[in-house]
């Protein structure tokens, strides 16, 4: 074995050109796989650093009228916690933006309000200090204590003396009692809380949000629970559903048609990343990327296998001698496999190093996101094991065929004569040709996929969101966090908007609680005068409390009726609303919606429709329109409010001016989001952008590797056919006829490969359908375009070796024999 290895090293050195090209192909192939696996590892594979995480589940509320799994209200959570016997404990948490005042500025930090048993349930031990005691979550506003996230602690300076010190959150003083361990970033991948605060402190942390904790209908809390030993997830779910049924009967108006779904913690951890109704995104993207990178690896392996087959011709003599000296075929296969596995492992080393570099590039490529995403795609031991396995595996894959072929050399030679097609084109159905066919097929599949994603990205950019896409700034502030009550918050927001309006570079400044292409609050709506128990009369709509100038500032067209006036926003004014086209046609399909009435499920007050606005995108660019109710802004929530500023000059410049105005009004008001509309749109585009970038680069890689493969095979084939081509030229073949002969051989392979690739693409692209905006998975332009592109590349890769055939001097060619 050591001898085999020593000889293998010598062989790699003896054929340096071969070794370098094969090494590079493997570095690219294994590097791409390691990078992709690193991403998947970070997204779904790497287990949460939670004790016995397989026992932990997430508990979701389901509602027959809302798609997907929802959060749970605080009162319901308390009932579930009390009544269940399936769990040893249940904990709840909710994300919350918190203003942390340091010196003269107030930072917006990501907080997690958690029940006192959160860390105990997850069995997470502090890296410094201690975690919460049960009594610290018992009395409202009784225990102002905070645990810091590890990264955030490092950001604050990383001093151990921080434990016991005070920090100012939303103007209140809190004591730091501990720091979470480095590996723990909550139970939702990508969302790394800066601070953890007991839920009993919610009035200070979410001032003005009391109602949220009291309403049994409010979908507020994420729930984790640990199964009792011996209780299965389905048993627990059955019991929880029974409790849900009882809660539905006890509170029919708010718990109607609501129940419970359990998802294992590990399965749920990456579902929050892409937002509601997109739970499978992380998994789908992972599968797509994995398929793409495995294809790349196969193409790279095919390249190396082809190089090995070419080299094996050169080593025919060596093998003949070995056989003559009595080496068994098994020995020869072992020797050759040692060589290819060595090559694979070397390529694996290079690939891992490449992946380390790519990991940083990927993080740099991450587009701005509405909430900071913290992902660590850097390889860990899991990735290293994966890469090592891939390296050995590919060494065997690309080495086996050439090794077997070589060990059976004479036999194959004999076979060759019989396998000859005799078609005149010199095509042989040999292994090398098959590999080329497979390479072309796989890279066509990949290129079509990346083409679809690129087109989807382009289409998504061209989608009209229904509002201004230039000269607009979006700034979210949260006066409630700075201690303002609803009325004073409203006043201060109006004052800020007024000051902004006075700037000569501003054409309009208005506010909305809903941020287009991000989200906001939704409400269940009942048509007035119809039976609220009939589900046709009860629908879910998004909810936009706005100031009257909003439509003009955003460039949203008011189609019919009238706009809001300042009077409509007064407390005792008659309740009126403007709805969008979708709501008009969904609620009043064949009637005129103008002048009709509806009410919010949570109130009895009838509301009159006074206007109909054009549709605009609410959450994503690719969404099917959801109903939107515009409502005069009358009160403030603790969720913050967003200023929309239509600028006449460069919107980027105006952002800092807006920040200055907010700070001049009150330094304590946290600014939680500030973007130009261009930046904001980039965030909305990021799934398709990532898809386009990742698949596009993988597609490009496949394209390069496959072209290399075709070129290599054709160049080798021409060199093998020197004598034949020389004879043909001596017998009168014109140069054009010789070129055509070589081209025909190559293009036949390419055509077969393209055929298989198209077949595979037609059969599989629909799997990516849900990830594509405005592009059919069988988009003819992409299919035809990419196929032609690849055909052209194959042509070029055949043409240059064919040109080389012309340099063949018949006399020399004929003399070699």
């Amino acid at each position: 074995m050591i001898n085999d290895l020593r000889f293998a090293v010598r062989m790699l050195i003896k054929y340096p050109a071969f070794s370098i090209v094969a090494f590079l192909a493997l570095v690219l192939g294994i590097g791409a796989n390691t990078t992709v696996f690193g991403i998947i590892n970070a997204l779904v594979l790497r287990p949460l650093p939670v004790g016995y995480s397989e026992e932990v589940v997430k508990v979701f509320t389901t509602d027959n009228h809302i798609k997907g799994n929802q959060s749970t209200s605080y009162p319901n959570f308390q009932d579930y916690e009390k009544q269940n016997t399936a769990f040893t404990s249940m904990a709840a948490y909710t994300f919350v933006g918190v203003g942390m005042t340091r010196g003269s500025d107030t930072l917006n930090v990501n907080g997690l309000l958690v029940t006192g048993n959160y860390f105990d349930l997850l069995q997470v031990k502090p890296s410094l200090g201690r975690m919460f005691l049960p009594e610290e979550d018992s009395t409202p506003n009784g225990h102002p204590v905070v645990v810091l996230g590890y990264k955030f602690w490092k950001k604050l300076g990383g001093e151990p003396t921080i434990v016991g010190s005070q920090v100012t959150l939303n103007g209140h003083s809190f004591t730091v009692i501990g720091v979470a361990p480095a590996a723990f970033t909550g139970v939702d991948v990508g969302l790394d809380p800066d601070i953890y605060v007991p839920m009993s402190m919610h009035q200070w942390i979410r001032p003005g949000g009391d109602l949220w904790f009291e309403l049994r209908r409010a979908l507020l809390l994420n729930i984790v629970a640990r199964l009792k030993p011996g209780v299965t997830m389905s048993q627990a779910q059955a019991q929880m559903r029974t409790i849900a049924k009882q809660l539905e009967q006890a509170y029919p108006d708010v718990n109607k048609e609501r129940s419970i779904a359990l998802v294992s913690l590990e399965a749920a951890k990456s579902q929050g990343l892409a937002g509601p109704n997109n739970e499978d995104l992380a998994r789908n993207v992972s599968l797509l990327l994995l398929a793409a990178s495995v294809s790349i690896l196969l193409i790279a392996c095919a390249n190396v296998a082809n190089l090995l087959l070419a080299r094996s011709t050169a080593r025919q003599g060596e093998m003949a001698v070995r056989l003559a000296l009595g080496a068994g075929r098994g020995r020869i296969v072992r020797q050759l496999l040692t060589e290819s596995v060595l090559l694979g492992v070397l390529g694996g080393f290079g690939g891992v190093i490449l992946a380390y570099c790519l990991g940083d590039v990927l993080v740099a490529l991450l587009p701005p996101t509405p909430f900071p995403i913290s992902l660590n795609p850097q390889p860990d031991w899991r990735v290293l094991i994966f890469s090592f396995a891939v390296a050995v595996f590919s060494g065997i894959i690309f080495g086996l065929a050439p090794a077997l072929q070589m060990a059976r050399w004479d036999l194959i030679q004999g076979l060759r004569e019989r396998v000859s097609t005799g078609g005149g084109a010199g095509t042989r159905l040999n292994l090398r040709s098959l590999l080329v066919v497979a390479q072309i097929a796989v890279s066509l599949l990949l290129l079509i996929a990346s083409g679809l994603f690129l087109k989807s990205f382009y289409k998504a950019q061209a989608i009209d969101p229904g509002f201004r896409t230039d000269n607009l700034d979006i700034v979210t502030i949260n006066p409630v966090l700075a201690g303002y009550d609803s009325d004073r918050a409203l006043q201060v927001v109006r004052a800020i908007a007024d000051q902004i309006r006075h700037d000569p570079h501003v054409a309009g400044a208005d506010v909305n609680n809903w941020v287009p292409l991000f989200g906001g609050e939704g409400r269940t709506i009942v048509i007035d005068g119809r039976d609220p128990n009939d589900e046709h009369n009860r629908k879910f709509a998004n909810y936009s409390p706005i100031t009257p100038g909003y439509f003009q500032t955003m460039g949203i067209q008011l189609l019919r009726g009238r706009n809001f006036t300042e009077q409509d926003a007064e407390k005792n004014a008659a309740p009126v609303a403007i709805i969008d086209e979708t709501m008009a046609s969904e609620f009043w399909p064949n009637e005129d919606a103008l002048g009709r009435r509806f009410r919010f499920m949570i109130s009895k007050e009838p509301i009159e429709v006074i206007g109909i606005a054009r549709n605009s995108k609410a959450v994503t660019l690719g969404e099917t329109p959801i109903s939107m109710v515009y409502w005069p802004l009358k009160e403030m929530t603790d969720q913050g409010i967003t200023l929309f500023v239509h600028t006449t000059g460069a919107p980027g410049m105006m952002l800092s001016e807006i920040r200055r105005i907010v700070r001049s009004v009150d330094v304590h008001i946290p600014i939680t989001y500030e973007k130009t509309i261009r930046q904001h749109m980039a965030i909305a585009l990021w799934p398709s952008w990532m898809g386009a970038i990742l698949l596009g680069s993988l597609g490009l890689l496949a394209f390069i590797l496959a072209s290399m493969g075709v070129y290599g095979v054709m160049a080798y084939s021409v060199s093998q056919r020197t004598r034949e081509l020389g004879i043909r030229m001596a017998l009168g073949a014109q140069t054009s006829q010789v070129i055509r002969l070589v081209l025909r051989q190559g293009m036949l392979l390419a055509a077969i490969g393209l055929g298989f690739g198209l077949f595979a693409a037609f059969g599989s692209t629909h799997l990516a359908g849900s990830l594509l905006y405005g592009v059919s998975p069988n988009d003819p332009v992409i299919f035809v375009g990419v196929t032609s592109l690849l055909a052209f590349a194959a042509f070029a890769a055949c043409y240059f070796p064919a040109r080389r055939a012309l340099k063949i001097d018949p006399i020399t060619a004929l003399r070699t024999e």
């Binding site: 000859s420 005799g422 034949e724 043909r728 030229m729 001596a730 017998l731 009168g732 073949a733 004929l814």
Partner: protein, 224 residues
Amino acid sequence: MIKLRRLERRYPLGKEKFFYVLRDINLDIEEGEFVSVMGPSGAGKSTLLHILGMHDSGWAGEYFLAETAVHHLKPKERATLRNEQIGFVFQQYHLLDDLTVYENLDIPLSYRRYSKGERAALVADMLDRFQIVGKKDLYPSQLSGGQQQLVGVARAIIAEPKLLLADEPTGNLHSSQGEEIMELFRKLNDEGMTIVQVTHSEKNASYGKRIIQLRDGWLVRENR
């Protein structure tokens, strides 16, 4: 048929130095002649034949083939002239291993202006004439050396050339097989074909009417 004047072929040998393979060759071959070129190994016989067969173009001097000044022709015109006038037989047969006997015979026709029907007829004719109809679907490796060279000759003359060039056609054959080829040449020559062959054997040379001796690139003697 062939007229060579001051024909010269040299290969560069370092800078400013040349290795002369053929020097100052003056030669006339009439239509219908059967000429044998003889001389020791390395004398330049193959080189001369490849020049006559227009496989080589790196020579200097004058070469007239049937009144056409080959030295003035462009490569394309040379190729056309060659395809019309010349057939070539190799010492190593140079049949294509992946093609059957039938397909090997068809190659020269595929590079000339023949219709499909004409090609089939000519190949059938040739198989008949050389009595190898039964072997038409065999591959070269399934034939004996003599049979392979028979196919080689058939392939050389299938496009009806006026001039047949053969470089040691019997060099790889037993004497009895060689005789068969030589008889074939005599018959072709009787039918009017001009033949130039390279040979080492006095006996084979005797089939021809004239012998040319080459030595170190010089044409030293002619025996008529």
